[in-house]
Symmetry: C4
């Protein structure tokens, strides 16, 4: 029973069930990581001076490789429109376009803008996540706690606004607190316990207020931990209890349940 | 069935059940955020120089808007005294008064004091919380653990006093530890793992003591997390165990259960 | 039924059941906090210059007060030897002796040493804990997890030794890593995420190693949290289950137990 | 019943059941810690100048001691090959070889390389873990969560790449962001909340992006905590649920239970 080339390519490129499909995915993964590494090393002055043009050629090698991959994906896709408009279809396109754009738009003044567009090729890395099923629990835990985390961040922003305004009044422009937005930047540096030290309080009152800000940050650092831990524990519990009622078909019963909690039928 | 204007206004301004009431709340929310943003941008020197007077006019626009809102709230309130003396009534008043005060109290010397009064308008942001019901679980978890958190902070203060006094003796004024209160400020910067680096230990003994302070901070950072996580888990559990089966009398049902999971009887 | 003075004093000073005993404790608490505050403010140069001698008199006022308290405690104690040799008996003595010692040992050269002895008066603050029963759960949770925390700290020290030695080799003395002990100090500053920035990596390899150290620190910061959270949850659970078997008298049963798990007798 | 010397030595050196075996382990532990301490103090310039040659002799004393220990271990081992090729066998050898190597490879130019080899003697510290059984729960919790932690670190690296590239574009080389790898170093310093302050954002847009990076770091700091806490709680739970009642068949008994808490039958 012979398979047409298009279907065979589809199982290799999109599928992960055959050994050829698995090998393709691993090779692609290495190619993505290498191309991103080359892109990053391109900005190191020492490397640019010692091997001029090397990383430019590496860049083109990977761009042509990914262009072939993109063309093949479109060719063998059963629903081409769906693939092109899907999230990974757009990412695949966006990760090859900037190198070609750099050819068309020349001129010294545009160099910085082109560089900015090329950075979007970093999104190639996101394609890696297609290969990681372990990320699911973490992402789901964050997703379930998203509203609580959002409210938490709103609270942090309000706190930062209050502390930032206070510090702007207490310390003033002569000690680096030149405006309220800059004071808010300082407050977030302090509350998140990053503490660069580029702006520090110099007056006694300012040091008292920063002490309060630090202890506040130290205390509320517990809240996202509490949210994520609670959601993760609940998610792990849910996985264990994928018990399904044979009568109403609903899932989500406790492992010690004898009767369905929605329809009352005895559980097997 | 015609409604008098006062009652109609009341359902729009205070209520959130009608679509008009919801739209009013969203518009008000944007107005609050915009007015606070204008207040903060007013302190940025670059903006003040490029558009002189712009933010002053924005300030007056929002102040008049909020004055009309405050007057309407008093007008349509069924119990006027109660509203004026309530927390949000006071916040509504305090957030418009400073701009008018700045007109009355003129003179170059008073400018700084007026600025200080105006900062209280930042409290407008707090009005946002009226619209966030998700904040309840977080606030309740913190509230239930308030005594433990207070004791924890007392412990942190005692530890800071001991470490601060020790560092003042070990390092002394020549390395920035000019007094015990300043050493305590340094200790809190260290224990909360903020670590500005404006004051750092220079002697060998001082570095040993700071190492101990850091490891202590690293260890006790776990305590508020433990408190909040435990309270949050207990709160989630409590929501679950409020339901009791009327047939077998057992508790511990999920909040969405329709039938008892142990005896199969319908839950009320 | 008249009580002798000694017993009456005992119930006021040592007891907390009578209203007089409670009032005494609160007054003592304020006196301790005030005397420690005076001791700390004594090191601030500005205060010393503006009010010379003031804090010296405050110091003596509290020392005499605490001496009277100490003498009364010995007088009214039923078992005098036991009180004097108890932890708080020694703390009470140590917190008044340094001021008297400063009188006997005079001379400009000894001033610094006397200051060192006086700092021990900070331990007065520890007496506060006698009045805080809420601290029990926190202290017990830490105590139950003490072996795990000790092992964790040993692990942190070994990790710091390895990373410190590595950084000493990679960065070397020219970038501030002048010796292995100093490199270990830097590693602990980094792993605990304090990050003063007084010593920072300058070579590429050094920045790679520090990145590893930071991610390690970020990862193991979770371990003490896990220990404390687990112990605190277990401790809260234990408090709820102070159910006692009427047959064998043992405690520690689950709240849903119908039979004693040690002797098999039915639980009431 | 006389024992041959070889077996007697084996029970002392490898075993921990006899009092002689325990005493040997404790002495060895102190010897390891002292030799590592000597190695580290050897790099402090002040000590080298005051006591020249002292630490060199200490170094040789411990090397000869550990050589004798290593020879005895090989002599009395029942399966010599297995011991030599085991993890601790290799560690035992690697911790004595560098000092002998330093004799053979002489010359001023090689000094630094020899120092590098000697640092491997720090691995002696790892031998300490042989004596700590408490480390098991911590190590097992980390081991069970290893896949989730790995995925988490991959996510952190991708995030750092994105934020690092963004900051390189926004801030540029004039403010210290000289290349994308260096920007990634800065991002990890920021996300892990270490915050050295050797590179800090200076433009307004850069400060906005760093604020986002900090809040991201503050939020995802919760994930490893959640993983470790969940695994640790599950591990403690597993210890509890390994016991099953032979009468009613229910699980979930405490590890110290003698009778089933549901049916009252004696537990085996």
């Amino acid at each position: 029973m012979s398979q047409p080339l298009r279907h065979q390519l589809y199982t290799i490129i999109f599928g992960t069930d055959t050994s050829a499909g698995k090998r393709f995915d691993v090779v692609l993964l290495y190619a993505i990581v290498l191309s991103v590494a080359a892109l990053m090393l391109d900005t190191v002055v020492v490397i640019q001076e010692r091997w001029p043009g090397l990383l430019y050629r590496v860049e083109w090698f990977f761009t042509i490789l990914f262009t072939i991959e993109y063309a093949t994906r479109i060719y063998c896709s059963p629903n081409r429109r769906k693939y092109v408009l899907s999230f990974y279809g757009v990412v695949d396109l966006v990760s090859i376009v900037p190198t070609y754009l750099a050819l068309l738009i020349t001129g010294a003044n545009y160099l910085l803008i082109i560089r900015l567009i090329r950075v979007f090729r970093v999104f190639r890395v996101f394609k890696m996540f297609r290969y990681l099923s372990e990320a699911n629990l973490l992402v789901r835990s964050l997703w379930l706690g998203r509203r609580k985390i959002l409210v938490f961040f709103l609270g942090v922003l309000v706190l930062s606004t209050v502390f930032g305004s206070l510090m702007y009044l207490v310390e003033g422009p002569e000690y680096g607190f030149t405006s309220i937005p800059k004071s808010i930047y300082w407050t977030i540096v302090t509350i998140t316990t990053v503490g660069y030290g580029d702006i520090t309080p110099h007056t006694v009152l300012g040091q008292v207020v920063s002490t309060l800000a630090m202890l506040t940050g130290y205390s509320i650092i517990a809240i996202p931990t509490g949210i994520v831990t609670a959601e993760m524990a609940a998610e792990l519990q849910r996985e264990k209890t994928l018990k399904k009622c044979t009568n109403c078909g609903k899932r989500g019963h406790d492992s010690d349940a004898d009767y369905c909690k929605w329809c009352g039928a005895e559980m097997v």
